[in-house]
């Protein structure tokens, strides 16, 4: 124990943040190992085109998982993200006649609204997050199909809109740019804005947070609303890439990939801790496994088994570190 003067940090005696327990360090090491192994053993893995391909494939999960990280940091969960993607996609496809900007805006507003409803039901009416978002998962999927004329495939013939999913900025695919910007913004908000502090307080000790004047309810609603918005963005990218809105298929099961990315990245399901960087790394790990297995012609079923193994291992590591 040193005196108060040590309030000024002494670099030497400190564990660097990225190595501290609960951070993304484990996931990062795993990602590096995976990439190195694949570079040696998987033909055509270490190529520029595959590099962008992996990032492109991962970008939607990253978007959804960033929102999921915020929700999980509060100790909650959002199962509705896949259905929200479908809603956003359907709304955009149906409304494209109004022009790209209005259609996009309406679609994102719809997605945001679903998130807001989730948050309100959870905080005001005190229904468990898993129940509320399971309900919106089911209802949302139906709603998306209703919007797109009873689940018909709605083709998109609007080259401008297709930039969102298929365009490039320089060599970088547009979805990758969007995902990176969103992740950076979320990481900044968590670190530098009161919202981030409130989020971790509300998730870490809600009773104490309330007594400290933290607007717990507003913070939770914001987290779910943002999760909805980000799922909406992912939904728009998806339909833009496909060139059509398929309300029955868009975003199916993505909540599982997103939760896996969050958990593998080192965010605790119990709430109170969050690492956006870890989540991005987690999503990349999942994608590298999927892509490399695909290239190695390993059956899809086996890649699922390995994914499951990785998730369990990540949670096991979190357990071991918490003493």
């Amino acid at each position: 124990m040193t005196g108060p003067s040590s309030a000024v940090s002494l670099g030497a005696s400190r564990i660097p943040g990225w190595l501290a327990p609960g951070s993304a360090s484990g996931a990062l090491i795993a990602l590096i190992v995976l990439v190195l192994l694949n570079s040696f053993f998987t033909p055509n893995f270490a190529t520029t085109s595959n590099f962008w391909n992996v990032l492109l494939q991962a970008s939607q999960v990253v978007l959804v998982a960033v929102g999921m990280t915020l929700v999980i940091a509060t100790g909650g969960i959002d199962l509705s993200v896949g259905s929200v993607m479908a809603i956003a996609g359907s709304v955009a496809a149906v409304q494209l006649g109004l022009g790209i900007v209005p259609a996009t805006a309406i679609a994102l507003a719809a997605a945001t609204l679903v998130g807001f409803v989730n948050g309100t039901l959870i905080t005001r009416d005190r229904i468990q997050p898993i129940v509320v978002t399971l309900a919106t998962l089911i209802a949302g999927r139906g709603l998306a199909q209703v919007i797109s004329n009873d689940g018909q495939l709605v083709p998109i013939n609007e080259p401008g809109f297709e930039i969102l999913g298929r365009g490039h900025i320089g060599p970088v695919p547009t979805p990758v740019v969007i995902a990176l910007l969103v992740a950076a913004a979320a990481a900044f908000a968590l670190r530098a804005m009161p919202f981030g502090r409130y989020l971790l307080s509300a998730g870490g000790n809600p009773a104490a947070a309330r007594l400290a004047g933290v607007p717990v309810r507003r913070t939770l609603i914001t987290a779910y609303t943002l999760s909805g918005l980000l799922a909406g963005v992912a939904g728009l990218i998806e339909v833009s890439r496909l060139g059509a809105s398929d309300a029955a298929k868009v975003g199916v099961n993505i909540e599982l990939d997103a939760i896996a990315a969050v958990v593998v990245g080192g965010t605790a399901l119990t709430g109170g801790r969050a690492t956006i960087f870890g989540t991005v790394v987690g999503a990349l790990i999942m994608q590298v496994i999927a892509t490399s297995f695909n290239m190695l012609l390993v059956p899809y079923a086996w890649s699922l088994a390995l994914k499951a193994g990785i998730i369990l291992f990540a949670v096991y590591l979190q357990r071991a570190k918490r003493v």
Binding site: M1, T2, G3, P4, S5, S6, A7, V8, S9, L10, S13, R14, G17, G22, A192, M193, P194, R197, Y198, L200, S201, G204, N205, A207, A208, A209, R210, L211, A212, G213, V214, P215, G272, R273
Partner: protein
Amino acid sequence: MEGIVKRFAGVTALDQVDFSLDTGEVHALVGENGAGKSTLVKIITGAYFRDEGAMSVEGRPVNFATPAAAQAEGVIAVHQEIHLLSYRTVAENVFLGREPRRWGLVDWTAMFDGAAALLNDLGLDMDPRATVGTLRTAQQQMVAIARGVSLGAKVLVLDEPTSSLAEREVTLLYGLIRKLKSRGTGIIYISHRFDELYAICDRVTVLRDGKYVATRRLADVERIDLICLMLGKSREALALGATAFTAHAGEASATVPLVRAHALQSGTRLRGVSLEIREGEVVGLAGLLGSGRTETARALFGADPIDGGTIEVRGKHVEIRSPNDAIAARIAFVPEDRKAEGIIPDLSVRENLTLAALPTLTKLGIVDRKQQQAVVERFMMRFAIKASNADQKIRELSGGNQQKVLLARWLCTNPDFLIVDEPTRGIDIGARGEIQALINELARQGLGVLMISSDLEELVEGSSRVRVLRDGRDVAELSRENISQDAIIRAMASGSAVAEGAQPE
């Protein structure tokens, strides 16, 4: 049982405690927080294993390794929070784990008949097919006791059985206890309510700080002596102790009180508490456990809703419905339970310290790191907070340092009125003195402080005035010249006469 010792990680929780229970006796176990009541009960019922000492049942030495072993000997606990399956029936709960069987299947008829017979035998009017969750708390308690009886209880431990019962239900419980007593069942009765002890118990054993203090027949001991035993004060010589309060906080000068609460009510726990705090004074709030001390603090801070009463700040009526309302009225509150309601364990000292003041440290929606750092450094220095640096997680700090961070959390919001609930409980002597000195200094600078404490020395030496609560009411006010441990204890035991006169109309 004799000479029971229990240590947790080197800390002695029970030190040489003796306890005996006769057949058909109701024996009360009393003591303030941390006295060791629950540890003793857990050893008796097999949840913990003693480190030293001997235990015997009916003269035979016993060693309970598990609660099941204790149950097999007929020693059964009925807990404060009742452990029952609320979606199952009364009968299922009574026979849980030993359902009557027939051909390997549950024999429902035998189970319901058995439960009905048992309830009838105990004089309980209850349907064995009723779902436990739909019953009132009192009835649920009866079910738990009935379960204990059907397990063949020779010793029943009732841990605060009346804490959530209405008065009429308490009478019902007494009836059941007398019935069990007449059948020779020994009952260990834990309660903070003196009326109950005198109504139902034969003997009382007092524990304090993990040590055995005394065993008395209730018929032979006066309330005030019992309180003295619990608090560890001799009635004759209530000498001044050694706390770090250098001098009494100043008397108030302003005419309009800073905060005035009138007739605060909340359920049965708060039945009309009025008090006033002026600038620059430390008002002590005294009372035994369950007297409404913490509830008063929480009501003032908007942490719990109130059913009645008014709060004025600087002469103006304010509605305080949430902590945010209280914070807006420049009220600060350091709660009793640091872990559950104070710290955010996984956040750093920096984030914990600035949590309440965050809105004032924000520019254009972004936390101003420089300003935040300045505040953190200032308070870490001023309060001598020992942490390796501001980024250390608060859960790694000692209790005293956590408490200092929580005090700092509030003082950096520049409050007018500070409520501290047990500010030095569970804190080592050094940090304790520092915190007491700090409260003293803050009051001298004009802060109004309401200090709740079960440490009488702390109240006597740190308060400008002491308000005494009993059973959810304020029963006495001791002004500066009248504050003494003796006076506080007297008021706790019986202060009604003083109260009626002193109570605001």
